[in-house]
């Protein structure tokens, strides 16, 4: 009954949506995110075409018509200034009460995104984000009894200048999340969180992107972010390439090498994306080896992600995911997570997601029901 209440509550709050990339859009022939997002790696601002697709694939449906108002034209510098606000709210119901509470409802994320096209191919992108202090280190699941506010931190999740010098070839400099992996929205996924791809892991980067009809690559030389803890600062190089063998099947390989003040790490990973209009599979496996400087200790880590998605309607996704984390001695950890849920895209800028999760290890057996709402105001 309480699960039902949480579900109803989340549905009653359907006033939000997200502007993340959907890697499973490969099922409709979108190998990269370039058609719908200004950034080929996805996320951030939607192009006019992306807004059209978002509208067309929503429950409401219909045509998206851009504003032709003179005022809007003036405010947006003749269409060269793009911006939006995105917000994510969440309600969590835990299997076992924590500090006497089973439920917690909280705003999780609020971003202001700004982009100006300075010249053809040249643009800046800024994402000014807020987050609770604890989100950086512990993620949402462990944090449900915390009293922290999501406005405790204000930081630039993206602050970069980009230049597309040839169609499909782009260089960028600035702070950003490393363009690795599938690009799934859940920053608490092991493949992200355990590989420093959380929302506040935004090193200073020199990026290069290349996309073609059946190929996309990203290369990044990264330097420490001054807002990181001193011992967490690292510099290194990462690369990722994804090749589409067919229009709806792509395999990717990625690697990273970095040196930090206390830890050096090497990562090797693979991704798979496959889909037909009604079904999709996403998979990512990463092997990470960390070496503690000065202690001659090296320990490997495996992170895995698998998601099966069923799309009975354009706007409705039913999904099941399985995640695994294995860390070897001397920091042994073995944890599994599985989730079953649905995501409904109600309007062009309103999406809801409900997921029942179970996470377990030798010391943990946790059940969580989460309901998220996403709103994107453009």
């Amino acid at each position: 009954m309480k699960y039902f209440v949480a579900l109803t509550f989340s549905l009653a709050l359907l006033i939000f949506s997200k502007a993340y990339a959907y890697p499973n859009m490969i099922r409709h022939g979108y190998l990269n995110c370039m058609g719908c997002h200004y950034a080929p790696e996805g996320g951030s601002l939607l192009t006019q075409y992306g807004k059209g697709i978002s509208q067309a694939m929503s429950f409401k449906g219909g045509e998206y018509t851009p504003s032709e108002s003179k005022i809007v034209d003036d405010i947006t510098l003749g269409g060269r200034l793009h911006h939006s606000i995105q917000f994510r709210g969440m309600t969590v119901r835990r299997g076992e009460p924590v500090a006497g509470k089973r439920y917690r409802t909280f705003p999780m994320q609020a971003d202001y995104i700004n982009q100006v096209d300075w010249a053809p191919g040249l643009r800046h992108e800024i994402i000014l984000a807020t987050a609770p202090n604890t989100a950086r280190r512990r993620g949402v699941d462990e944090n449900t009894n915390s009293k922290s506010s999501f406005t405790e931190r204000l930081y630039f999740r993206t602050f970069k200048l980009e230049w597309m010098f040839i169609k499909g070839k782009k260089i960028a400099v600035g702070h950003d999340t490393l363009p690795m992996g599938l690009g799934i929205a859940d920053h608490t996924a092991y493949v992200r969180e355990r590989n420093r791809l959380g929302v506040t892991d935004v090193p200073l980067q020199f990026q290069f992107f290349s996309v073609s009809a059946n190929w996309q690559s990203a290369l990044s030389l990264f330097l420490p972010n001054n807002s990181d803890l001193k011992n967490n600062r690292e510099k290194g190089l990462m690369g990722k390439s994804e090749f589409a063998f067919f229009r709806n099947f792509a395999v990717g390989l990625q690697g990273l090498t970095s040196n930090g003040k206390s830890i050096n790490r090497r990562l090797l990973g693979a991704t798979i994306r496959w889909g037909i209009p009604q079904f999709s599979i996403l998979a990512e496996n990463n092997y990470t080896e960390r070496h503690i400087s000065g202690a001659s200790v090296t320990f490997p880590q495996w992170t895995n992600y698998l998601e099966l998605g069923l799309f009975p309607k354009d706007y409705l996704k039913i999904f099941w995911n399985f995640q695994a984390l294995t860390v070897s001695d001397p920091f042994f950890e073995r944890e599994r997570l599985t989730g079953l849920g649905f995501e409904a895209h109600w309007m062009a800028n309103i999406t809801s997601l409900v997921e029942a999760r179970k996470r377990w290890s030798s010391v943990l057996d946790e059940k969580i029901l989460m309901a998220q709402i996403f709103f994107n105001l453009w």
Binding site: G29, Y30, L31, M34, Q48, Y49, G61, R247, P277
Partner: protein
Amino acid sequence: MKRIFILSFALICAPQSFAQNKDLKLEGELKYFVDTNMPGVNFEGKANSFESIKATLIEANKEIKLRDIELIISSEKLNSGIEMRDKHTQDKIFAPANGGTAPCKILLTIKEAKCSGEKEKYTCSGDGQLKIGTKEVARSFIFNMGKEGEIKSALEINLSAFGIKAPTYMGVEVNDQVKIQFSAKNKSL
């Protein structure tokens, strides 16, 4: 007289005695592949609900032919997986200005196609018509035929060559060249 009669009878009957005509009961699929001006943004659609799909297989003296190939499908049966995209395809490709009436008929007819090759692996070619609405977009066809009646054909057409303007939507423009693929299996075997 008897000899002449036997000879005449043999001459009249010989070709027919080795000829086999089979009306194929086909079930097929039409696919189309579209690229756009955005690298990595391309899509495909398909239709498998035909108004008419038929052909006759003729085997005579080791010669294989396909005759009276006819394939008719309504443009509204084309499905790319996104409803709005299909609506745009109807409105922009099959619009009256492009010779269509949205929905209009896509019609493929080939009177006769001669096949050559090894058993179960033939290459066939023939002249006919591929029409979208009232507009003819292709005339000659080459296709492969495998086990009896298994047909696969692919052709590329340039929309502009037939006066069809490639559609655009919010900055994403469909490439002029569109690939069409047709495959069919013989149910009666």
